[in-house]
Subunit: 182 residues, 2 copies
DNA sequence: ACCTTAGCTGACCGATCGGTCAGTTCCTGC
DNA sequence: GCAGGAACTGACCGATCGGTCAGCTAAGGT
């Protein structure tokens, strides 16, 4: 679909002609179903954003203990695996797509995610753990498309590896000790 | 310069008009100094690639012990900090820019880098450590541009944090123990 | 004084961009 | 059988894309 092109070539680098051709339709037909190119991007990305909002909501509403943190990481990894292309677009193109509604929504969500995982007293390295985990995961999940012809790594292999890695990276950060917040 | 636009908006999303305007010249003048848009990209990215080739060459030519690995990580972090925008472009846009000479050169270099750090017997999680470290570092170094108005994090703060993080991530991978492989 | 050359520019090119619109096809409910 | 609407399309629009070209200006060498 169009999503693959956005992730591979970038939103700006993908033309409506290419989207239409890869879908087997004409450009006019694409614009019949979607009001504009921006609207198409919105409809493509919205399911991923809503899923992430759900996960974050579930996490922030629970008490902070080891079990809920582990649950969050598992949910988050499954989210990454299911919406890997969407995540890649959001992470790597949010800067250039400022102003589009769905992108601004996603950016606010990512900021909230960072706040939930590391309080404002977090040190530079704590914040960077979050950034590296997020950007690194988003990158690795599509790196196969960049450096190999096929994305060969199967999901079954990736899931436990990602969970281990994100646990390592986020464990020291996510520790919300007795102090609840503020 | 043009590099900032490439990193921020993407190569495809940056027009020669914008590059020229931000440099205070006309589009014709830009094309007088650079044969084409692709050639401009090449000249912008080449210094970073050559520096990385130097670092990788120095690493592979030394014996594999803790000291040389630490030296490599320090060099690599300094490289990331110095060429953060270039790295971001290479990491996140290599896929869409296949065919441009400088990009293909960089892709081959990154593959070599991965091979040097984790042998072919490396497990999925080992390879992913490398990918997360690379993609994560590239992402965090420009995430400030995406989510905050200014890239406020000073380099002095970033360097030790990055070294610590990359050491953690790459330490288990880079262990070329006595056992050569398989 | 003259010529060369580097640096730079506006005008222009064909191609393609996102988007509009009138019209065609085809299916469905009556 | 037919009216109506949904799906779809080609032709077309102004704007902008990367790139070419002739020409302008200023500096330097002789």
């Amino acid at each position: 679909m169009a999503l693959q092109q956005f992730a591979a070539v970038g939103f700006a680098g993908t033309s409506l002609q290419q989207i239409a051709a890869s879908a087997g339709y004409s450009k006019s037909s694409v614009l019949y179903h979607f009001a504009s190119k921006d609207a198409l991007l919105g409809e493509v990305l919205t399911p991923a954003i809503e899923r992430l909002e759900d996960i974050l909501g579930g996490f922030t509403s629970t008490s902070e203990d080891a079990a809920s943190r582990r649950q969050f990481i598992e949910d988050f990894v499954d989210f990454l695996l299911q919406y890997r292309l969407e995540v890649h677009v959001l992470i790597n193109q949010a800067q250039s797509l400022k102003g589009i509604a769905v992108i601004d929504r996603a950016r606010a969500l990512i900021v909230r995610l960072g706040d939930a995982l590391c309080q404002e007293h977090a040190t530079t390295i704590d914040r960077m753990r979050f950034g590296v985990a997020l950007g690194g995961a988003a990158y690795s999940l599509v790196a196969g498309l960049t450096f190999f012809d096929e994305d060969i790594t199967p999901t079954d292999d990736l899931r436990p590896a990602l969970i281990t890695l994100l646990s390592e990276l986020l464990a020291p950060v996510a520790v919300r000790t007795t102090q609840p917040r503020k």
